[in-house]
């Protein structure tokens, strides 16, 4: 199979929401990403796949500037949101993160807060809120995360009293309540059972109508099921980035084929 340079942009229907331009990242002296180029389309689901330690978490964490919170973390290159450089001097990472929300690997609801307060946490942390509007936001966010029917009678219960899958959807609701434009999901189902996983996957299909979604996943079937575009990362290099269908049915790179057919990883 002929090697085609990965810088050839895949055909796109929608304009790029996030642009990744020659991005490299380090932890101390250890380089974890090398010259990554990607265009992430608006209201599309982009999956990032690859074996453990390939840098996919670092890549997604550099999109909302969470990478820089780690000790010794460094980044070079350019990441744009709607064309504007998010690492520009005058960009406050705090404001950026309100536009680019994130859901983590392990559900992490705030343990001291009820279901309702967890949903409102992002708003309460950052500004004051009157009660009538709060009720409306809670219901909307929980509907958005497909959790409302299950928890509407126990909004005052502690967030930790929910099941793992419900907790993860609570974390999604918490992100939605801040009204972001982009939702980053870093292996959101890796701590969940298959039933909870499929609920989150259904949810991703619904959320796509409103949000731009980037999802890191370990699970290739999941990437195939939920995403429009897929990026395959290997040891910090972007090996291939194309439409999900194409990547899984006719990969252009031998390494991609080896990975998706289970020859390694």
């Amino acid at each position: 199979m002929a090697m085609i340079s990965n810088s050839t942009p895949p055909p796109r229907q929608s304009p790029a929401k996030l642009g990744v331009d020659r991005v490299s990242a380090w932890f101390g002296t250890h380089q974890v990403l090398q010259d990554i180029d990607m265009q992430i389309g608006e209201r599309e689901v982009t999956a990032i796949i690859g074996p453990s330690g390939c840098g996919k978490s670092t890549l997604i964490r550099s999109l909302n500037r969470m990478h820089e919170l780690s000790e010794g973390a460094r980044i070079a290159g350019k990441i744009t949101l709607d064309g504007a450089d998010v690492y520009a001097r005058d960009v406050d990472p705090v404001m950026l993160r309100r536009r680019v929300g994130m859901v983590f690997q392990k559900p992490n609801p705030f343990p001291s807060m009820s279901v309702r307060d967890n949903v409102l946490a992002g708003l309460r942390l950052t500004r004051s809120l009157d009660n009538a509007r709060a009720d409306e936001i809670v219901e909307k966010a929980l509907h958005g995360a497909a959790l409302w029917e299950e928890v509407k009678d126990r909004l005052a219960a502690p967030g930790l009293s929910l099941s793992g899958g419900q907790q993860q959807r609570l974390c999604i609701a918490r992100s939605l309540a801040v009204a972001p434009e982009v939702l980053l999901m870093d292996e959101p189902c890796s701590a969940l059972d298959p039933v909870a996983t499929s609920r989150i996957e259904d949810l991703i299909h619904e959320l796509k109508a409103t949000y731009t979604i980037v999802i890191v996943t370990h699970n290739m079937q999941q990437a195939a099921r939920v995403s429009d575009y897929t990026a395959f990362l290997l040891s910090g290099d972007l090996v291939e980035f194309s439409e999900t269908n194409r990547l899984f049915t006719s990969p252009r790179d031998q390494r991609t084929e080896d990975y998706i057919t289970g020859k390694f990883g």
Partner: protein, 285 residues
């Protein structure tokens, strides 16, 4: 086979017995102290003893100034040491980068916790009483005790902050919270129970301290209670020390009664703090 089984269970049983002994020995010693002290102080224990001023006559003497003085000291020490100690811990843990300097500071704080209390007393005498002209006041005493317990408050608070999982801080940052919002609304509420435990231990140590207060100039015989932070003062352990060193047998009874009052005060303070901690924990869970 059964022979082998019994032999392998021997260390198990021995260890179990050892841990029981480890619990029983200190408990018995404490019980012994309580029984002896209560029995010898019993004749003087009563409401009169708690509400009276010291006197030349042992059977009229009371512990009121010492009790009130100790409560003043506790309150002021807490007010000074807790904000400073928790503040320093937050800075070192949440803002400080892992560097050689921060490790150096950490080692130094641990060392400071081991400095003999008399040294803190001398520091307090030089700094608060003389240089800052606080005089032999309850404020000078509280400042000295605050210095004394500060390293402990810092260490325990850092430990409590460290137990808050990184994932919760990340959750807050990802929602667009600033560092301060994250600390105040996510990290501190999680760390409060641990910090409070440290505060209890620190204040329990402060209430029992005698040496630094003697150096700073707590009086042994006063017939009034402090009416402000600049008033002269005495404290429970000082009063007890004074009575024990009297030649008359009757004053030794007073000392025993004084010890019971001191222990009871400590119990009430600790009980209140533990109650508060459990309520915080319940809210958390």
């Amino acid at each position: 086979m059964s022979d082998h089984d019994t032999r392998s269970r021997m260390p198990e049983r021995a260890f179990f017995a050892l841990t029981i002994a480890a619990v029983a020995v200190p408990l018995l010693v404490l019980l012994f102290l309580l029984v002896i002290v209560t029995r010898s102080g019993l004749t003087r224990l009563g409401w009169d003893f708690v509400t009276s001023y010291p006197s030349r006559h042992a059977d009229h003497a009371g512990i009121l100034p010492g009790l009130v003085g100790s409560l003043w000291l506790m309150g002021l020490t807490a007010l000074i040491a807790l904000p400073l100690g928790v503040g320093a811990a937050i800075h070192l843990e949440e803002y400080g980068k892992q560097s050689r300097l921060s490790r150096l500071i950490e080692i130094n704080i641990a060392n400071l916790a081991g400095v003999p209390s008399i040294v803190y007393g001398l520091l307090g005498l030089g700094l608060f009483v003389r240089t800052l002209h606080m005089g032999r006041s309850v404020l000078a005493g509280a400042c000295t005790l605050a210095l004394l317990v500060l390293p402990m408050v810092v260490m325990v608070s850092r430990e409590a902050l460290r137990t808050v999982p990184m994932s919760l801080r990340e959750a807050a940052y990802a929602l667009g919270a600033t560092r301060w919002q994250t600390i105040r609304q996510v990290v501190l509420p999680q760390a409060y129970p641990g910090i409070l435990t440290g505060a209890i231990l620190a204040l329990a140590r402060a209430i029992g301290e005698t040496a630094p207060l003697v150096v700073v100039g707590a009086l042994t015989y006063i017939t009034f209670v402090p009416d402000g932070v600049d008033a002269p003062f005495t404290a429970l352990p000082i009063q007890i020390f004074n009575w024990v060193s009297r030649p008359q047998r009757a004053f030794v009874v007073n000392a025993a009664a004084g010890i019971v009052v001191l222990l009871a005060t400590m119990l009430v303070l600790n009980g209140a703090a533990i109650y508060l901690r459990n309520r915080l924990q319940k809210k958390r869970a």
